[in-house]
Each structure stands twice: as C-alpha cells, then as structure tokens.
C-alpha cells in the first residue's frame, strides 16, 4: 500500500506491507533509529512518538494507519540546534542512564506537559505509567519533567500548551521548507 506521511518535518511517500508497524517503518525504511523497540506487548513505551501532536506507542500503530499524518520522533524534537526544554531537563537532572527508554520517555513527557502544564509528582508518575525505565528508578525523570514544566511556562499554566503548538508549528514550517 502507498502511504504518505510527514516525519520530523520531511514528507515521505512509500509502498509498505499492510502489516508493517509504524515503528518498523520509522526505523527500517526511514532510518529513524532514535525510536526504539523494547517489547512486543505494548508495555514498555520505548517506541513512543507523536502522531498529529499526541503521543502513541508506534509499535501499536500500523504504518498505513499513519497515512496522511504528521509524526514527530525524538529526532525531530530539537529545533535549530536547540534542545526541546524536556530534552534539556533530562540532561540537567540526570534523568537517564543507559538512555534506551529516553526517547519514548521524553516524547511521553512532552505530551504529558501539553495536557497538564504544571503536574505534581503524582501526576507525573501517573502520566508516565506506560513507559518503563529499568535504570533510573524514575526519581530523576520525575524531577526532570517538573523542571521542564517550570522552564516552559514560568508561573503561567496554560502557556505549556504552546509547546505542543510550537512543535506543530515548527513541523509545518520545516515541512513547508522541504516542499518549497
């Protein structure tokens, strides 16, 4: 089947088998190996990407289901050489060790903050429930997400929404650049 999707700002058109998972399309066809596979039962969240601005486990979506959609992976999160505030916060708070869970964790955290710009500890823990990390014990991940929340919208809750919008905006922008 022929599908077209925009991934990290670039438009791709490909023929894929109907059974191909989005994560395999990203990794094997597009070389987007920043997104990884950690399980075969949709439990680990390592494969989390954004599909039209919301986080999904890309191992539980078929590539054909993403036809016509915009996908953002960990590789498309930084802009103009500047890290996304959540990426920066993961670095600043030592929220990763081996880093295998990190792409999925960051993508999920960005989505979480779009929904809830100022989550308390429990809200962060609940929001990341679908993403497993074996290294960190989560404590610094929680710290990082709350730190990012502070940095993204100092004192003003609804502003955090902007990040999602900005990301979408940037996606559109760079897609336009690619198309022109």
């Amino acid at each position: 089947m022929r599908i077209t999707m925009t991934v990290d700002g670039t438009k791709y058109t490909d023929d894929v088998e109907p059974r191909m998972l989005l994560v395999h399309y990203l990794r094997e066809r597009l070389g987007k190996t920043g997104t990884v596979v950690g399980c075969d039962t949709s439990n680990c969240g390592a494969c989390t990407v954004h599909l039209d601005g919301h986080s999904v486990k890309s191992c539980s979506v078929l590539a054909v289901q993403a036809d016509g959609c915009e996908v953002t992976t960990i590789e498309g999160l930084a802009r103009d050489g500047r890290l996304h505030p959540v990426q920066q916060a993961f670095h600043d708070n030592h929220a990763l060790q081996c880093g295998f869970c990190t792409p999925g964790m960051i993508m999920q955290a960005v989505d979480l903050l779009a929904d809830n710009p100022d989550p308390d500890e429990q809200a962060v823990r609940q929001g990341l429930e679908g993403n497993l990390c074996r290294c960190t014990g989560y404590q610094n991940i929680v710290r990082a997400v709350r730190d990012a929340a502070q940095k993204m919208s100092p004192g003003a809750g609804p502003e955090a929404e902007q990040v999602a919008d900005e990301t979408a905006e940037a996606t559109k922008l760079s897609r336009a650049e690619v198309q022109s």
């Binding site: 088998e17 950690g38 060790q97 295998f100 962060v124 990341l128 679908g130 960190t136 014990g137």
Partner: protein, 789 residues
C-alpha cells in the same frame, strides 16, 4: 591546557553521554545495517524437557526470502559447548551446553532451529513452517525434589541433579570457631527458611548482535557488558583464533548482570555469518528475552542464628539450595558463592558455616543479576537480625549496634575470612535515623497498634555491606574462577592537546565517559572537555575485563590513575630536558611543569608536542607520552550503608504503601555525586521490585507464565515512591581514589529493608514472614494465617 581551580573529582558533572541519547543519535546494535546483511530468527522449544524426535525444515527452506535453515544437528560439529568459567569445586557436574539443542531440550525457550532470511519478517514467517516433534520427558522444577532419591533427572548422563556443593567453615578456614559449638552454647537460636524468588534482569534494550565476516577478521557487534570476555570465549568455543575476532559493544541499553554472558544467540549468529559469508543480525523479542536470557536469584535459604540473651551474636549457619536452571552459563555456579562471604555482613560473631548445593532444574539458566549472591546474603542476615530482635524483644537497631564492627576496629577480618579495610556504620546510621525520624515513627506505630488501626505501620532496617571491586586475581584463582580481576587503561596524549583515555571497562548506562574524564582531568590537569573516553571495542581497547560486580571505578578507575602517573613520569623527564634542569628539580602542578624555586615553567601541552615530534628527547626516552597500566586490586572494596523504610500495610486488603525511604550510603569518595545518586535510585528500585512486584513463575509443565512485560511486573513510575538518599564518605584505603563502587548497593540493601518493614507492621498480629514478592494476596494471607509461629 590550564589548571582547573576546582578538582573535577567530586563534582556533579552533567554527563557527556547524554547529548546523543536525548536526541536519538544512538548506536544500538539493532540500529546497524550493513550491505548484504541477513536476518536471523530462532525457533525456541515450547517444552521444558523433551527429546527432539523429528525436525523437518524442507518447507521452511522454500519460503520466500529464506537463505538457510539450520538445526542443532547441522551445528553440532562447530558449536562446541558454551563456557562456564567458574567450576566451583573439583568434582562439579557440568552438562554439555550446546548453543542450539541437538537431541534434547532442557528448558522452555531453548533454541532448536534458526532461519536466516533477507528480512526479519521473512525469517519469522518461515519459523512457522518448521515441522518439529518432541517426546516429552518428566519435568524437574522443584529443587528439594530434584535432589531427593529417585528424582527424575535433567541430564540423564550426569546421574544426578546435584551440580556441586560448596562449603565455607570458619573452623576449618581458621577464621572462627566451630558452628555446632556456637549453636550448642547459645542461649537463643532462631531458625528460618527464606525463598529468594527467581528474577529476570529485564534490561530495557533487548539483546542484539550483528556479525560481519567480510574481510580478514570477523567483527561482532553485541549488546553485551563484556566485549573482551566475549571475544575470548567466542574463540574458545568456535576454534576461530581470537586474533581473527573483533568484538564491539556499541551503545548498550542496560545490563544489570543480564548481559554478563556469552549467549547461545551470539554463538549461533557468529557461526551462521561465518558459514554464509554475509553479515547476519539477530535481535531478540522481549518475550524471547524473558524466557531465554539468563535469570537471577532463585535460592532456598535455611538460616540458623545463635546468640546470647543480651543479643551478642554467637554464630550463623547458612544452608542453601541454589537453582542453576538447565545449564551452567558463564558464572552461574559462582553466584551463590559470592554470597558466602557476605551472610555475616557487618557483624562480629564467633563461628560461621556456609553450605550451598547448586541444583539443576528444567528452567532457564540462572546467572548474575545486580548484586549476584550478595543481595541474597544481605536479605538473609538482615531478615534474621529482625527475627532475633523480636525473639529478644529488643529494638532491631539496638541489636545491630551491639554486634557491628565499630569504626575504630578497622581493618577487621571477619568470620568469613575477608578483611574489611574501612567503614563507619555508626555515622551512616545516625544520619539515616535522624532524617528518617525513627523515634517518631516508632511512636506512631505503637499508637496505630493500640487503636487497632486498619492501616498498620512498619519500620524496616537494612544495615548492609557488600564486597565489590571484583576482584583480586589471586582470590579469584583460589575460588577456581577461570579469569583474572584486573583492569587496564591507556592514555594517548594527542599532539593537538586532546587526550584519549582507553578503558577496559564497558559501560552500559553508568556514565564512564563522564566520570573517567573527571579522573583524567584531575590527574593531568587538562580540561574535562578535552578528554575523550574510548571503550567497548576490542580493537581500540585491547585489554580489559569489562563491567560487572561494581568493579569499574575501584579497579578500572585505579588503572586510569596509574596510567596517568606514567604519563607524568615520562613528561617530567622530557620537561627537565626542555628546561635544562635535573628531574628532581621539576615540580608539577596540574597542567604545568616548573623548575623548583624559579618562575621557569613549561606547559604540559608543550611537553606533549615535544615528546610527539621527538626532535630532541633525552637519551633513553621513547617518543610520545602515551602510557598504559594494569591494576590488580589487593582486596575487595566494602561499601556500606543504612537503609530505612516505613511501610503502611492495609490489614484489610494486604496492600503495601511505602511511605518513606531513607538511605545513607558510604561508597567512599564519590567521583561524580550525581551519577552515584542515580545509581542508588535505580538500585533501590530494583530491590524494591524484588520485595513487592517481580517473580519469574513457571507452571507445572515448566512454561514461563510471566513471559511478557504485562506479566513480569517491572515497576513503572506510578509504582514507586521517591527515595531520600544521602552519603557519608569514608574513603577506601585500598585504592588511590578512595572509591568503593556503587552499582549494586541499592539493590542489595533495599529488599530486606522493605520486607522487614512489612513484617514489622504485622508482627503484633503474629506474622513473622511474608514470602516475596509481597503482593497484596500474600500479605493478606499472612495476616489471616496469623503468622508461622
């Protein structure tokens, strides 16, 4: 190069590794693609014990994209037997361990056939067309039954399921008295039996390997903790000269001992690539990983603790059964033996005896998992100290204080024969007790008991130590381990002023690139940013013993210091020559040499160039300042600490909530306190997971029923609380950095702290044990049963 005012060691430097990991520019083995690369899929036995009566691969060979299908029979000539490097006794029974089963399968998940195809999907599809018949054999699962007379046998040809029995007796070793006398003469004797459930390391990156036979060498990328050992052992198993094998561990996503292995998958992939002359990649699925990558723990511990009425310990007897599973992997038999020296922990006693019998069953082989033998030991003794305290109606911390080695008694040779170089249990405990608010919590506990509150409060203590920094080679030799315990480092002083540090350690999340840069920066007085750490490739890191057993810093870090000292020793000669003075007159402050008592000086950077161009070197001095060193430790290192856990137990539902968790660890000097803290967090999480959530369960046919991450309960963020972690710093006296190691501490300490808290909450209800994992069902049942007394 300038001298840094503030020393690098001790600074919470943000990690160099992060840049690639947070942006997805990572090199996991599975990311790699080579021209002509083929994909392998493995057919695994659903049976735990069976004879293979037929395998027909004809149909599979005809499937689209399939290049080859092989069975154990096809590999029988080349595959040899997987290595066990730790034959713990002279008469240890070791079964043949083929990478792929030939005639018989001995655990569910064992590989029985491989398909190599042009794509992974095609390889997977073809597996279904392999026609295989089994003749079921009786399944051996229970350790006690396995060693009873007339038991069914896992390996018929061994004639027994007993692998080996290993004994440490303080009377025989001369490190203490006779245990029987100690028990006979004691006023109080407490006996308990504990079960260390089977666990799965569950590193997040599934194992993956890619073998490229193109060219004169065979290159193997593998998600391994042990590239150097893997190279050595692959040569030993396959007969391919070691010099023709290059192993690379690129970015590796966690290990926890689970990737301290020479796996069947690596050997099969290696042989297939060699046979086909094309690169072959194999990446396991999570389900394959849970069933076939080695498991950990799985012991039955019978413990007898003898003491006087005033709480003075007399002796400890430890009788273990340890489940090896179906085969002996790299260090399987030695894992429980690492615990032999740790059951006596931080306590003084007259006599100690340890007897461990390793047993074969039809389950996945066990091997190292974070702590490897030491968590089991710490759990055993720390649970027993609480039981004894209850028996004596003594405060459990008071009992510990009464018996532990005091700070002025170091170095101290224990009843298990180890000499602990340093420690300060009092300081760590005092600090932890204060933060925790021990007295207030005890008061609240009493109050809840008095009003028979549905939510009861328990306080769990674990005052642990561990032996790490593995290991003095002569000790390993005495324990019949096949390899040494040294580590290697090389420093290359590049003419551009940059420094390459080549380490034999092989990180997979520990942050060596950052911490090792800090050490080099201090030693040489070069900027942290100018140090590049190279690791994990046997072609650049030519010597190494890899990363496990909290050894990397204490052993590998010391090798770095020694290599740096050699760089400076040589630089001093060259600098003296450049400054036209005697070597003895040269002073070194980080980054600069000077002539004593003058303002004449030369920067290290200039000495580097001078030595590199070699136009004018003193006689007998070779070009470049590059140096290397190997360090073999004299002794283990002994981190310690006090972990305190307050748990609320809902007596109506059995639900456990960890209300607070406080720990003070002493890992010696912290090179990077931020990384240390992260290791402690993750370590505690894994220990808590053993106490509350995780267990590898097999049904009566030997099938793993916890075969996915939906069933094997690796905790999520929502399952865990925050931990209050801090440190005391009592430097190790056995290495120049004063470091001890931190990788395993949290895991070793936390499991008994949590279980002690749960039991403590329910002790007044007649409960003196809850089997792990302490699920609501188990806790509730223990309450109903009113305990085992």
């Amino acid at each position: 190069m300038t001298s840094t005012a503030e020393p690098e060691v001790g600074r919470a430097r943000l990690r160099k590794e992060d840049a690639r990991l947070i942006t997805g520019r990572t090199r996991w083995t599975d990311n790699m693609v080579l021209p002509g690369m083929l994909h392998m899929a493995l057919l695994r036995s659903p049976m735990a014990h069976a004879r293979i009566t037929k395998i027909d691969t004809t149909a599979a060979r005809e499937m689209p994209g399939v290049i080859a299908v092989v069975t154990g029979q096809d590999l029988a000539e080349e595959q040899g037997s997987l290595p066990c490097a730790w034959p713990i006794t002279e008469d240890m029974k070791a079964p043949d361990a083929p990478a792929m089963a030939v005639e018989q399968v001995n655990f569910a998940g064992e590989a029985v056939a491989a398909v190599i195809a042009r794509s992974k999907a095609e390889a997977d599809d073809a597996l279904e067309s392999i026609d295989i018949d089994y003749d079921e054999l009786p399944v051996v699962l229970d350790m006690a039954a396995a060693i009873a007379d007339g038991a069914d046998l896992v390996h018929e040809n061994l004639g027994t399921n007993r692998c080996a029995t290993w004994v440490y007796d303080s009377a025989e070793a001369g490190s203490g008295g006779a245990i029987d006398d100690a028990i006979a003469g004691a006023e109080v004797v407490v006996e308990r039996t504990y079960r260390q459930q089977r666990l799965i390391p569950a590193f997040m990156e599934p194992r993956s390997m890619l073998v490229d036979p193109t060219g004169d060498q065979i290159t193997m990328w593998s998600a391994t903790q042990i590239p150097h050992i893997l190279r050595w052992m692959t040569a030993a198993v396959t007969g391919v000269p070691e010099s023709k094998i290059r192993v690379i561990a690129p970015d590796v996503g966690g290990g926890f001992g689970g990737k301290l292995q020479v796996t069947p998958e690596e050997i099969i992939t290696f042989l297939m690539a060699k046979r086909l002359g094309k690169p072959v990649k194999y990446t396991e699925s999570r389900s394959e990983s849970l069933a076939s990558a080695h498991h950990g723990r799985d012991q039955i511990q019978k413990l007898t603790l003898a003491a006087d009425r005033d709480g003075t310990l007399r002796g400890l007897k430890v009788e273990l059964l340890a489940d090896m599973g179906a085969y002996l992997r790299l260090v399987s038999p030695g894992v429980p033996i690492l615990g032999a020296f740790m059951f006596n922990a931080i306590y003084k006693m007259d006599a100690y005896k340890f007897v461990c019998t390793n047993v074969f069953t039809n389950k996945t082989p066990t091997d190292a998992y974070r702590g490897a033998g030491r968590p089991e030991a710490t759990f055993g003794i720390e649970r027993m100290m609480d039981e004894l305290a209850a028996e004596l109606s003594m405060d459990p911390m008071e009992l510990r204080r009464k018996n532990w080695i005091t700070h002025d008694e170091f170095p101290f040779t224990t009843v298990a024969g180890l000499t602990y170089d340093s420690g300060d249990y009092e300081s760590a405990t005092d600090k932890a007790m204060e933060t925790f608010g021990y007295d207030a919590l005890r008061a609240e506990q009493q109050e809840r008991r008095d009003r028979n509150d549905a939510i009861q409060l328990g306080i769990g203590i674990s005052t642990y130590t561990e032996m790490c920094g593995l290991a003095p080679s002569r000790v390993l030799g005495a324990l019949r381990y096949a390899a040494g315990g040294w580590e290697h480092a090389a420093i290359r002083m590049l003419p551009t002023g940059k420094v390459e540090l080549v380490t034999g350690t092989s990180p997979h999340g520990q942050g060596h690139e950052t911490a090792w840069s800090q050490i080099v920066a201090d030693q040489l007085g070069v900027p942290f940013e100018d140090v590049e750490v190279l690791h994990g490739d046997t072609q650049s890191s030519v010597r190494g013993m890899d990363s496990y057993g909290s050894r990397s810093l204490a052993v590998g870090g010391t090798a770095i210091v020694l290599a740096a000292q050699r760089v400076l020793a040589k630089a001093r000669k060259v600098a003296a020559h450049m400054m036209e003075c005697a070597e003895d007159d040269v002073d070194f402050t980080p980054g600069t040499f000077s002539v004593k008592g003058t303002d004449r000086g030369v920067a290290l950077a200039d000495v580097v160039v001078h030595a590199h161009v070699a136009h004018d070197l003193p006689d007998g001095v070779e070009a470049t300042l590059d140096s290397d060193a190997t360090f073999d430790p004299e002794n283990f290192s002994f981190p310690h600490g006090t972990h305190l856990c307050a748990a609320e137990v809902d007596t109506e539902t059995g639900r456990v909530r960890l209300r607070s968790y406080v720990c003070v660890d002493d890992v010696g000097k912290a090179v990077n306190p931020m990384i240390v803290e992260g290791q402690v967090h993750g370590g505690i999480a894994q220990g808590v997971a053993q106490a509350l959530f995780e267990e590898a369960v097999h049904d009566e046919s030997g099938t793993l029923t916890t075969g996915t991450l939906a069933d094997y309960l690796v905790p999520s963020a929502a399952d865990l609380p925050s931990f209050d972690t801090s440190r005391t710093e009592t430097p190790a006296t056995t290495n120049p950095l004063g470091v001890k190691g931190v990788g395993e501490a949290g895991t070793i300490a936390s499991t008994p702290a949590v279980v002690n808290a749960i039991v403590d909450a329910l002790r007044h209800r007649g409960v003196n044990d809850v089997e792990m994992p302490c699920t609501p069902m188990r806790v509730w049942s223990a309450i109903q049963a009113g305990g085992a007394r």
